[in-house]
Amino acid sequence: MSVQVTINGYNVSVEEGTSILNAAKQLDIKIPTLCYHPDQIVKGNCRVCVVEVEGMRNLAAACCTPVKEGMIIRTNSKRVRDARRTVVELIMAGHNQECLTCVRNGNCELQDLCSDLNIHSVPFDNVSERLPIDDSNPSIERDMSKCIKCGRCVQVCNCIQTVGAIYNVGRSSLMHIAPAFEKPLNQVPCVYCGQCINVCPVGAIYEKNDVDKVLDVLEDKTKHVVVQIAPAVRVSLGEEFGMEPGSIITGKIVTALRMLGFDKVFDTDFAADLTIIEEGNELIDRLNNNGKLPMITSCSPGWIRYIEYFYPEFLENLSTCKSPQQMFGAIAKSYYAEKEDIDPAHMTVVSIMPCTAKKAEAVRDEMKSCGYQDVDYVLTTRELGSMIKKAGIELNELREEAFDVPLGITTGAGVIFGATGGVMEAALRTVYEVVTNEELNNINFTQVRGLEGVKESEIPVGDLKVKVAVAHGLSHARELLERLKRGEAEYHFIEIMCCPGGCIGGGGQPKPLTNEIREKRIKAIYEADLGMPLRRSHNNPAIQALYDDFLEQPLGEKSHHLLHTHYTERKKYELNV
């Protein structure tokens, strides 16, 4: 049923139950918000969106007040403007206003709000406390002096990721957001997914910045520095430079990385193709030899930490394949080093990733199988953006260059790793053709694409109907694992990505990040796939050469040593009573 309301003198008809905020949008009236996030449950705690409703004594929060028939609403009266200003001024009083040196300078929702509301001074004393910054882990830092207590991070951590590393602590003016007993993040079951970073409206949570370390190593002439970029980076970095979400700028990124001084610019897509060969063969091996099923993908390090903490009983179901990032490092420091006659001790591998958990993955103890740490430094998409800006490179205008060979030769199957369902689709393209020896007529497995939380399908491969499932976002992963535990579902192969939307929605990606933006990036990923001359991993000539010249065979001894890994159960907490 629809209802008629009047907003600022204009009539609009909207569905019953629509919030005042969304009703106003239909009239192109923007009501400012802060705690509101389009992909989250409405919280209504910041009060920035207050409006005047005729007949109501108090102002109403537009985000959580549903419209009623005949409502007369004013979003821009003096009373509303004054109240909004006071609300923001009070928030500012509790906020560490070191804006010029803040990681969010120029891309901060609170800054924008102050600008939009024309706030040039704050009448209240600043009461923000300079607490120690939590930099206890390789991925995420928290500076609670900047926190405005909107609650978005708590919601994403507890509801969307079902991790629950942080929660509201205390009450009233002392309320703050913290792990239990104010422990640092490395002492609680945080998976380092960084989804809290992506929803934080200010600069209270951000990735651990490794840009200076990379700049230093680029200065070091004794080092051969190679860089790899993940699939998702090419469809999102443009947003850091004002481009539309979903702009595909692969060639520009390659040029920029070369200009920054990397000796070789390679592509994680190469390692994604390699992952498909190893993981595809692992699946075939498990299917043929009564191996542990369903096999679950292991590319996403946030997901790996999650299963290690929350579902250790499924660790044997994980593919033993390292993630593409780690496979790349191991191959660069063995095969590539040998081929180019470079001492791996003098080689540095840098990754550009959409991910904060990758920083922690790179320093895992078991990721040193080539004799050296596979990957030395991991930068997020955002960090690469800042590095390019710092170097004065005008990315928007830049010419496009091609990746170096051989670790830059890739296929469309590698590109789609960046979106939820991509690993599954890439694996199916290869597994089908390897098992049946027939060419697939249609290599687009559209049933595993898109933002639906859990996607299922059955794909006939030879005599076997392969049952697959794809989940993204850890609450959906949990839902799927719980169904498996109860015996309500049966699959052969499952893809799980930690972040909603897959890597394009990773915790290291440009902000803001909403589902609308995720859709655009996903669309770009599949466009990039279509633009590739080769779209099946097993057709990649560089991968074929890698096996012919070095690895010999999938799941062989060298593969086992360099490309496969193991997992460890992690305790959420020490319980000794």
């Binding site: 507890n158 991790v163 629950g164 590393a165 942080i166 929660y167 509201n168 602590v169 205390g170 009450r171 913290a178 792990p179 239990a180 007993f181 609680v188 959420k572 907490y573 020490e574 319980l575 000794n576 009573v577």
Partner: protein, 157 residues
């Protein structure tokens, strides 16, 4: 194992669904000699109710009647809601701090008495009022405060 058995008993009795959390927290704290919820007890409750530890801690930290820090055997809670606060509340605080030699939020060295604020305890008609463990004392002055503290120290309370 004593703490484990005690908490498991309470959870068995009350139920292990999330909506029972506050009831469980209150019961567990009641059994604690020092009127608090230890880290280990909160972890165990989180485990038994299948709720994140951070959430259990967050909820325990919200209510002034619950404490996650070790308190004295006797907890003196001074009401700081409006009527008590306005009617000599601050003076009462000064007297307690003076007599006990500790500040608000602290515990006496012998671990016997702790001093803290509470929100309204429903004794506005007797302002200024306090609560010691489960008992309420109102219309306080210096003499009454001495009496309360002396009876605590003599073990008469």
């Amino acid at each position: 194992m004593e703490l484990r058995d005690q908490i498991m008993g309470i959870v068995d009795e009350i139920g292990n669904s999330e909506d029972k959390l506050i009831e469980i927290l209150i019961s567990v704290q009641k059994k604690s000699e020092h009127h608090y919820l230890s880290e280990q007890s909160l972890i165990l409750i989180a485990e038994l109710l299948n709720i994140p530890f951070s959430k259990v801690y967050g909820i325990a930290s919200f209510y002034s009647m619950l404490s996650t820090k070790k308190r004295g055997k006797y907890v003196i809670q001074i009401c700081n809601s409006t009527p008590c606060y306005l009617y000599k509340g601050k003076e009462i605080v000064n007297m307690f701090e003076d007599i006990l030699g500790i500040k608000m939020g602290e515990v006496t060295q012998d671990g016997l008495i702790s001093l803290e604020y509470t929100s309204c305890i429903g004794a506005c008609d007797q302002a200024p009022a306090i609560r010691v463990n489960d008992r309420v004392y109102g219309n306080l002055d210096r003499g009454k405060i001495y009496k309360v503290i002396t009876s605590i120290r003599r073990g008469e309370l």
